[in-house]
Symmetry: C2
Subunit: 257 residues, 2 copies
């Protein structure tokens, strides 16, 4: 499927669920991975919300984002413990009931049976899925995610989240892949800021960002040009490189994630 | 200032502004740092929103969060380039005008003067601050952040953001510091999930989270107990450790960030 099949460019949002991210104990890596993966599919991530393990907060975030994005993803909160409340909250956002899903139960029975592990009441919670949802395969630890309309509920453990996403990626209708060209040197961004603003006005179909950095005791800036047309990116990149060379710098230019 | 001066426990939210975070190019580290720092001050972070360099998105996030949090912080988008629009957006959220701030201008003149660098129009943008705002010192690169009511506008570069926050930390009224005790072993969380839920019900003043992990080919779980009363944390921690020992595990227990 390509952008040609869709007249509106797809966009996405992510809800990251978990007190452990907000408290700083756990460093989220799912947002960066999904943002990068979705950009490559032409589905730019427009917003990320990190919310607590709190029903009202999760329901509000899911409802706010599902109405204005082509796709919404959630990560976290679908395990067997009392703090795993994502399933019931997503169901509540849709006004759906949570029911024992026979296929999900069969998968858990097979998984835990092979491991001679008791499929106790806590583990069986992971087979309770909103009515009408499609299961999302979990090739790592069996307990499935699910899709309800445009909301995709994924695990929080990064390796499992990635495997789940890879399994559903073909079901998402992407747009033209968004490419990024970076032009980097030890220029001070304040010296090129005016010219960059002019360039942005002349090339409204690209998105030009300037990111200062400090490495050791030298500062510099990466100018990143993003867009779907590689020729236009190169054209803008060449002009940014010229701005830097005119200031005596020797910029590096290359495609980036 | 202590919790005793305030009857309502303070809470905070963070707005991270920048396309480069959403595209996956840049990995945000400010959220984790602020979440951890604020927890230590007894000001739990309740929500993080990552939004694009887009006026409507920034204004909406700031307005949604400032009305229901004691403190709001923003990071990113206060540099000299065209994609730095945080200041005008925060001003718009309050209906405030952006004006040339004489003290901010003086700081930039001193900073760039020492470096024999032209304070051009782009750099002078960084001295434009919403009317009525207090400046937040930037000891690294001079261009100040600002506070407008309960919204604190900080830089996105982590070293600068941290220096800015350290400068204003004493102006925030904290609550009792939130402590975390982690109990970790190779237990499968499904084996203790039922008992953990019971413990959570018995200790509603603590927040018990269970976080599975996979290290090499072994799985396990960290149970993290969070709360303000160290004695209660120890009491719950001892009971979690007993649950694990009863299953033949040898748990490690200790305070964590």
């Amino acid at each position: 499927m390509s952008a040609a099949t869709s007249t509106v460019a797809p966009i996405a949002a992510l809800v990251i669920i978990g007190n452990e991210i907000l408290s700083g104990r756990t460093h989220d890596v799912n947002g960066q991975w999904l943002g990068s993966r979705l950009a490559g599919m032409g589905i730019p991530l427009k917003e990320i919300r990190v919310v607590a393990d709190d029903k009202d907060a999760i329901v509000e975030a899911v409802n706010a984002l599902r109405s204005r994005n082509t796709y919404v993803f959630t990560t976290g909160g679908i395990g067997p413990t009392h703090d795993d409340i994502t399933t019931e909250c997503v169901a509540a956002a849709f006004g759906a009931r949570v029911v024992l899903n026979p296929e999900a139960k069969r998968r858990l029975e097979a998984h835990y049976g092979e491991r001679h592990t008791d499929l106790n009441e806590a583990r069986l919670r992971m087979a309770h899925i909103p009515e009408g949802a499609d299961l999302i395969d979990n090739p790592v630890s069996a307990a499935p995610g699910f899709r309800l309309e445009n909301v995709h509920v994924l695990a929080g453990v990064p390796s499992i989240m990635r495997a789940m996403f890879d399994g559903i990626a073909h079901t998402l209708t992407g747009g033209a892949p968004i490419r990024s060209l970076a032009v980097t040197s030890h220029v001070r961004e304040g010296d090129i800021a005016g010219s960059l603003g002019d360039l942005q006005n002349r090339y409204p179909d690209t998105d030009i960002g300037s990111y200062p950095f400090a490495k050791g005791n030298r500062i510099g800036a990466s100018v990143v040009i993003r867009g779907t047309d590689p020729h236009m990116l190169q054209e803008v990149g060449d002009q940014v490189a010229k701005l830097m060379r005119d200031l005596g710098e020797d910029p590096e230019m290359g495609e980036v994630a």
